[in-house]
């Protein structure tokens, strides 16, 4: 049977390359609207409050348990902003055409990851040392951690190094993915944007060799970012949560942390493209296809959230040693039981129930609703993990050596400065991303052009579909 007879040409209503260039790199990019300016000022004000919160935490330092919300907020930021660039990497490796308009928003999250890495440094001063000298024993006592034999500068220096490497890899990848667009801004932009475009394009003229090397560099930095993301989640979740709680030993936690980071990254990208479509003037470039595809990934990672949570939970549940019971009580059924149920509802039950319906997934409003629930749920999840861990006194390593939580801590409620921090720091990250989008288009121009080059809307029998070519 000749299949070519089933296919017929239809009118291509997509924006032309010239139109896309004007919209994304040229005169179509107007100055910030008054609404956006107001929003940026609101984010800036919230950021200032966040830094006031940190300053007051330092001035009125009442002990380790008071830093729990700061740790939880940074963990949440690393979860969301660190995980989002994976949405730019994974589909690109799989040559998924649908992801092109969403890749830029996802990759720009690395700006906020870099900011998170810098904000992590004050928290390192609050981490207890790995060893202290015990007068009773006449020797050093080491608390349980992954840093066997307590090497010099561990864990502080290594955590900074890992987070800065993650940030640098993310920034390098975001820059490389934006390089051809800087060339387009140099050629078609005006004023300060054109000047920056010229500086950042660095002589990119679109020679085949330049494209080839760009592709390779994106691939290498992307793979490197992915590897470092896993490592950063591993060390962060252990050093800033698990090792602070005597007796908490869980091999699954780092992977739970990583998979929920990917879940949050997908949710952030969904909300980002929804906002860009709604207010960013790019509705011609992002739409149902991106929502539908990202919605499926969100559903998959939501199911994985439950899988990893349950895998971890069941070990403690069946273990039933005194330590297992105390750990489970601290994290699930004790002082944070209501937080846990909120997490369970918002990070799993509700988004799962919303996203199983194809009609909801294939809509512009469905995935953003589920994504909002996931982000709120995971914020509470980080509170559950980190506030509980930082409240698990004492710092006394002689007791920690017993590998047993001495007493169950009370619920630590946020004070006004914690609220400042919880609102201000994510706002600061978002502000950084939005300021960068004043120069870099939120939808990648060269990827839109490439998509137009290798796809073609056609009529297939009695329906309309997109014919996609996959070069290489």
């Amino acid at each position: 049977m000749a299949t070519s007879s089933l296919i017929a040409d239809v009118t291509d209503n997509r924006p032309s390359n010239q139109e896309a260039t004007v919209d994304l790199a040229g005169e179509g990019r107007t100055a910030a609207s008054s609404g956006l300016k107001l929003f940026l000022w609101a984010l800036a004000a919230a950021s200032v409050l966040g830094f006031i919160g940190i300053a007051f935490r330092f001035i009125n330092d009442g002990g380790r348990q008071e830093w729990g919300y700061y740790a939880a907020t940074l963990a949440f930021m690393m979860t969301v902003f660190g995980g989002a660039p994976i949405v730019a990497i994974a589909p690109a490796i799989a040559k998924a055409n649908w992801a092109r308009p969403a890749a830029r928003i996802a990759s720009l999250a690395s700006i906020a990851t870099a900011m998170t890495a810098l904000m992590m440094i004050p928290l390192l001063f609050k981490l207890p040392p790995l060893t202290v000298f015990s007068e009773a024993l006449g020797d050093d006592i080491r608390r349980t951690s992954i840093w066997f034999d307590s090497p010099d500068y561990a864990p502080h220096f290594w955590n900074v190094l890992i987070l800065l490497t993650l940030a640098l890899a993310g920034l390098a990848m975001a820059y490389l993915m934006a390089l051809p667009d800087f060339a387009a801004i140099r050629d078609h932009g005006s004023g300060w944007k054109q000047r920056w475009g010229k500086k950042l394009a660095r002589g990119f003229h679109g020679r085949p060799q330049q494209w080839e090397w760009l592709k390779m560099r994106i691939g290498v930095t992307g793979a490197f970012y992915f590897a470092i993301l896993l490592f950063a989640n591993f060390t962060f979740s252990i050093d800033f949560a698990m090792s602070l709680v005597p007796g908490w030993k869980d091999a699954i936690l780092p992977f739970y942390h990583t998979i929920s980071s990917m879940q949050a990254g997908i949710a952030f990208t969904i909300l980002g493209i929804w906002a860009a479509r709604r207010w960013g003037g790019v509705s011609k470039y992002v739409g149902h296809e991106q929502m539908w595809s990202l919605g499926k990934l969100l559903l998959a990672t939501t199911l994985l959230w439950f899988y990893f949570f349950y895998s971890s939970f069941i070990v403690f549940w069946y273990g039933r040693t005194a330590t297992d019971t105390l750990t489970l009580k601290l994290l699930v059924s004790g002082p944070y039981i209501y937080v846990f149920w909120t997490v369970f509802l918002l990070a799993f039950i509700a988004p799962w129930w919303v996203m199983i319906w194809n009609k909801v997934r294939d809509s512009v409003w469905g995935p953003p609703i589920a994504a909002t629930m996931v982000l709120i749920g995971l914020f509470f999840d980080r509170i559950r993990l980190y506030v509980a861990s930082w409240s698990a006194e004492p710092d006394n390593l002689e007791l920690a050596k017993l590998s047993m939580l001495e007493k169950m801590p009370d619920t630590v409620w946020p004070d006004v400065f914690d609220v400042f921090i919880m609102v201000g720091l994510p706002a600061f990250g978002l502000l950084g991303i939005l300021l960068v989008t004043r120069l870099v288009p939120v939808v990648s121009l060269w990827e839109v052009q490439q998509s137009r080059l290798i796809t073609k809307p056609i009529r297939f029998m009695r329906t309309h579909v997109m014919l996609v070519g996959k070069p290489d």
Binding site: Q18, P180, D187, R207, P208, K215, V220, Q449, P471
Partner: protein
């Protein structure tokens, strides 16, 4: 021979650009002296352009080999220098050495790949020649680098292929 002129032909469709590349090849312009400029990546060889061969694949292989050698040296050397029998296993226990061998092999491959990318990128070409800003709008540029005596010939080939505009720099 030093190329002193850069001639650019601008085309509004890729086919015409590919024809210009064919024309330059037929006219005897050496491979590597003409190239295509595009605003988006086209599949390799779509314009019949000269594709320089890189040797990046050799770098990770070399790095992996070096890493593996180092791992064997470290693990075997340490165990032979301090021969402590653990769990009744041989001094040179393959499964214990395998983990270090794997890690250092991968580390060597990764570092060598990064070095390879820098090396294979060569020095940046600061003389970028003729250019037109419409290339980032989706137009196709075909650029030829040639000496004074072949400029007119190059312009003729580009014009014959249907160039909208020809620039010389």
């Amino acid at each position: 021979m030093v190329a002193t002129n850069s001639v650019l032909g601008l085309y509004d469709n890729p086919d015409a650009g590919a024809n210009a590349m064919d024309g330059l090849k037929s006219a005897g312009f050496p491979l590597g002296s003409f190239d295509v400029l595009t605003g988006t990546p086209y599949p390799e060889g779509a314009f019949g352009e000269y594709v320089p061969q890189h040797r990046l694949f050799r770098f990770p292989f070399f790095g992996a080999m070096v890493g593996l050698m180092l791992a064997i040296l470290f693990t075997a050397g340490t165990q032979l220098a301090y021969p402590v029998i653990t769990g009744g296993k041989p001094i040179l226990a393959f499964f214990a050495m395998l983990i270090i061998a794997y890690e250092l092999t991968m580390l060597g491959a990764v570092i060598a790949t990064v070095v390879g990318i820098i090396f294979e990128s060569r020095l940046p070409n600061l003389n970028l020649g003729a250019y037109d800003t419409r290339i980032t709008e989706g137009y196709i540029g075909v650029v030829v680098e040639c000496e004074d005596d072949r400029v007119e010939e190059a312009r003729g080939v580009l014009q014959t292929a249907g160039a909208l505009e020809i620039k010389t720099a």
